[in-house]
Amino acid sequence: MPSRVFTIAARVMRQLIRDRRTMALILIVPLVVMSLIGLSFPESHVLDYIAPALLATLALFFGFLLTGISFLRERSQGTMERLMASPVSRLDIVIGYLFGFFIFALVQTLIILLFTIYVLDVTYHGDLWQIFVFQIVVITGAVNLGIFISTFARNEFQMVQFIPLIIIPQIFLCGVIWPVEQMPDYLQWLSTILPLTYAVDGLRNIMLSGENLIDVGVELAVLVGFAVAISIVAAITLRRGASD
């Protein structure tokens, strides 16, 4: 792996760590959201069913939003232009960002996972480490999706507008709230091309049915494929500045 990737990743991490308020929000907001959701379900078996889907959805949501806005800022403050005039490749930038955000998204996911299991007392069957590994793949896709979508936004306000367009439809179409099988055929077809469908199915199979990573190999393969494809597309479509 080129040293420039690690240089970019280290810089992204250093930027986040120096922004104490953002750091606090990254850690606290998911806990508040999970607490509210957990307390709003009077029936524990309903929460057991929906928890895996929420874990996947929150990983997608926060990974997408944090990376998207941070990447957008890189362009609007002109540092992307400076990087693009340097010997750094587009792929170095995308992978550097992925690594930089990955650690924070991973910590965030671990906190949500442990909070869900030990505080909200959600029952699960699979191995904790397998749930975690599966979430790593979900995060990778989410971070790359954030980078890719940020190329279509010229400011933070526009970036936030992509949440209702990219994330919310997936919550309704990917089996988070109700089973995909209960939807009309054309929406069922649509759900097959959305990554959250595979994230929700895979995590449910691990956490509710006690399956392992090999059992959910198809879902895992689709999510890995999505993460790789979207990182390549993100690198190709990378723009230098917000005004380009």
Binding site: T7, R11, R14, Q15, R18, Q77, T79, E81, A85, S86
Partner: protein, 251 residues
Amino acid sequence: MHQFDRPAVEIDKVSFSYNNLKVIDELSLQVPRGTSFGLLGPNGAGKTTLIRLLVGLLRPRFGSIRILGQKPSRKMAHLIGYMPQLHSLYSELSVIQNVEFFARIYRLTDKTERSRRVEEVIRLVDMWAQRHNPVVKLSGGMKQRVSLACAIVHNPPLLFLDEPTVGLDPELRVTFWEYFTALTKQGATLIISSHTMDDAAHCNRLAFMRDGKVIAQGAPTELRQATGHPEATLEDAFLYFVHGGRKKEDA
């Protein structure tokens, strides 16, 4: 001609448009090595677009560009330094972290050498005392100095500086120019865009730009003499060429 004997910058009939609006119009220019070359013109003349074409951020629709004998590309990007018009710094990071980041990006891999060079350039722009301050807390002029430090940390033979003296107080402007002059004496080539004639007077050679074209080029003295008035200023010379080589009152 061997690539080391060629001019630092060769631009041949380059055109570039944004949304069908021609910003650079069949522009040709050559910049000799070891000179400070000023691109002078009003806002909207095409100076920034030309610099972005030269550093490889944009590709010309027509014509060709050679930088140190090569096409602008990532492979030769280590040979150039670029100071964009925006400060283009990581505001949460400190001065030293910003400069160190760009030193690493330009592969100053030896830690001792990198630390020495980072300290050298931060001292050069007189920001050593503030090296641990986050950029967000610096004044505009200080940010400009840090931006310059980031552009020169890898000691490039060719520097593109887009409006480097904007927002600087007169004292700092003098310091910047002393440094630019020292760089050219060491053999570096500087391409500096500006819309102030103060900057123009410091350059070895100038190109007056307007509407995406070079309307005149030469040494400051040559451009002033071309007006036919020995006491003419560079501003007079610019207006003279804007009016097609006629005195303003004749136009």
